[in-house]
Amino acid sequence: MANKRVVIDPITRIEGHLRVEVEVDENNVVQKAYSSSTLWRGIELILKGRDPRDAGLMAQRICGVCTYSHYRAGVEAVEDALGVEPPYNAKLVRSILNESLYMHDHIVHFYHLHGLDWVDVVSALSADPKKASELAFKYSDLPISTGTAELMAVQQRVKGFVEKGQLGPFANAYWGNKTYKFSPEQNLIALSHYLKALEVQRTAAQMFAIFGAKQPHPQSLVVGGITSVMDVLSPARLSEWLTKYKIVKDFIDRAYYADIVMAAEAFGTEESVLGGLGVKNFLSGESMMLNRTENLFESGYIKDGDLSKVYDIDESLIDEDVTHAWYEGEKPLKPYDGETVPNYTGFVDGDTVNGKAKILDEKAKYSWVKAPRYDKEAFEVGPLSNLLVNYARGNEKVIKAVGDFLERTGLPVGALFTTLGRTAARMLQVKLISDNAIITFNSLVENIKTDQSTYTKFEIDPNKEYKGRFIGEVPRGTLSHWVRIKNGLIENYQAVVPTTWNAGPIDANGVVGPYEASLVGLKLEDPKKPLEVLRIIHSFDPCMACSVHVMDMKGTEISEFKVSVADGGACSV
């Protein structure tokens, strides 16, 4: 019997638009998988011919979630090109902003984007609140938002919401799928934290805004330094940051950590979350400057899941392949020389479990995402890669955090190389960040007593050519921006973003990327409710928020919105 195709488009609860198609055999085991971004982005084309000092301000418009990441990358790529060294204060403030961003971003990802893959809201409504309240102490010494009265109120609130017919954010999940493993009481604890997280994320957003100078779109970074000088020098603003930081950290310690421990217990034997990792190469940039000599995370890569060897990144080995992406191009190109010539070839007719439909043309081109490679191989990027690389590097803080978690849950190291491991790694990463952000903050407080510089002057010589790049770690993984400057203007610009590393299509050599490889071998409980696929893909934290408007997502009526120009790569961070 021929394989059947399951189409999931769009994958919801992500930033942007992603389509995944899998072929299952008669036992509903995935044989092949294809991931496609059906939207494209155009930042590189917009930036050509612009003032390099504007690169960050424009790049931040790529995405509404990764705003700061692209802003900073755009600014620092230009600094690298011009040879500008921002003052220590500026570097610390940028690091604090990044730490604040992670504390916001990972909470939102787990609870509001990924959480409903683990939590069955309908089941939570039938839980015994008193039992759930007692159970919460099993996962945290000091649980938060799990008093009996609070849990009853949560049930009432969500019931009321559901009765009004407004399922809202809960509407798209596959309720009742047998691979939901939480008990009703565990579901209720997590649901209460879901609602609490809606409140805490506001505090996190405010915490970020303190040094962002302007909310919503931060304007505090410039080539050469920062402009939020008054905030840095204000004791009131500093203490405001500290207050909000403590609230958010408290939630991470008492809710997020506890819920992942609970998930590890409940899902520790659920087969569909113990796979989900096909590409065992992991790459990570450095990030989280703590002081003049120390970063929380260092860069590097490991191969074939081997934690005994870690390598330094050679930037010249990064390139992007477009064989199966909707672009012109014969051979892989280095980011400095990247091109952006669209070649949209559309979809083809095919059979799916839901009848005839337009499907991806995997033999030709099928995605707006390019395929980044390091030394011809595919790599996963993201929090899991970040932790594994630093674990292999012998980073004591990381080794301790990972060790404590494995001990607490009774899981082996091998459990990290799974969907569950990827989801746990995101929590552990932000736990490490929230434990250590205070070091960066104190470094700043100490330094401004004697040094108040925030800006380094520079000049752009129109008669010189420059090139530079930013490579670093942002919430969804390793981000790089690459710029060439000529005649004082941007000559070429490319952004190689985390989701591109993970979601990219097959390359010319037949090498498969992390998303596609992660799905092969997965058994679906019900091909018409492919929750297991969503859970794996969401665990990567996809972000393709390139915000193009009404392009038809079903691949049928694309002509009306025909794209005339596109960009390089299809995603933001």
Binding site: T12, I62, P169, R202, P216, Q219, T227, H549, V550
Partner: protein
């Protein structure tokens, strides 16, 4: 009463940026005066990151692009979020899906201010320059009149400061504050 005028959209994609361009244009063309306070803010595509800001207000007006079955490019729609007809298609743009989810998430917490939506149907989605299609450009007048009438009903008068064509401000909307004032 505090009223928020929130422009939503992505400047990188032609008409998609109309919400942001439009509020920037209004802010330069008019001074607003009256018994109620009006804030004009560029929301970009930030969606739920905007929640801390939105909760500060008693009423909100969102300016955005919109699509629904049977609509034509350049048409303008204005409605209460509570009355969003099912036919309105919020799919297709990350920020729109997210903006709708954001408003619903605020309902879950129970602190979304009353929300009006002023939407225009876009045509051009090209990432080459900061520009608008003629359809959306021609719709600006209708959008402006609709909005000013609504603001007037809320006790806010728009006092024109100068003659201005929205085309004049398009190239600089991304620079919403003077980033080089060091």
């Amino acid at each position: 009463m505090r009223i928020l005028l929130l422009g939503i959209g992505n400047l990188l994609f032609g008409d998609e940026g109309i919400g942001v361009h439009f509020i920037s244009y209004l802010g330069k063309k008019y001074r607003f005066d009256g018994e109620n306070e009006l804030s004009i803010i560029d929301g970009g595509t930030l969606a739920q990151h905007l929640i801390p800001l939105i909760v500060e207000y008693d009423q909100m007006i969102i300016i955005d692009t919109i699509n629904a079955p049977g609509v034509k490019a350049g048409e303008v729609y204005f409605f209460d979020f509570e009355a969003v007809p099912d036919v309105v298609d919020w799919q297709g743009s990350a920020h729109e899906v997210e903006m709708l989810q954001t408003l619903t998430m605020m309902d879950l917490v129970g602190d979304r201010p009353p929300t009006m939506i002023l939407g225009v149907v876009p045509t051009v989605i090209e990432a080459t320059e900061f520009s608008l299609s003629s359809g959306v450009y021609d719709a600006v007048d209708v959008m402006e009149k609709t909005l000013l009438r609504h603001l007037s009903s809320l006790g806010i008068e728009a006092i024109q400061q100068k003659e201005l064509d929205i085309k004049e401000i398009l190239p600089d909307t991304f620079r919403t504050a003077d980033a080089y004032s060091l």
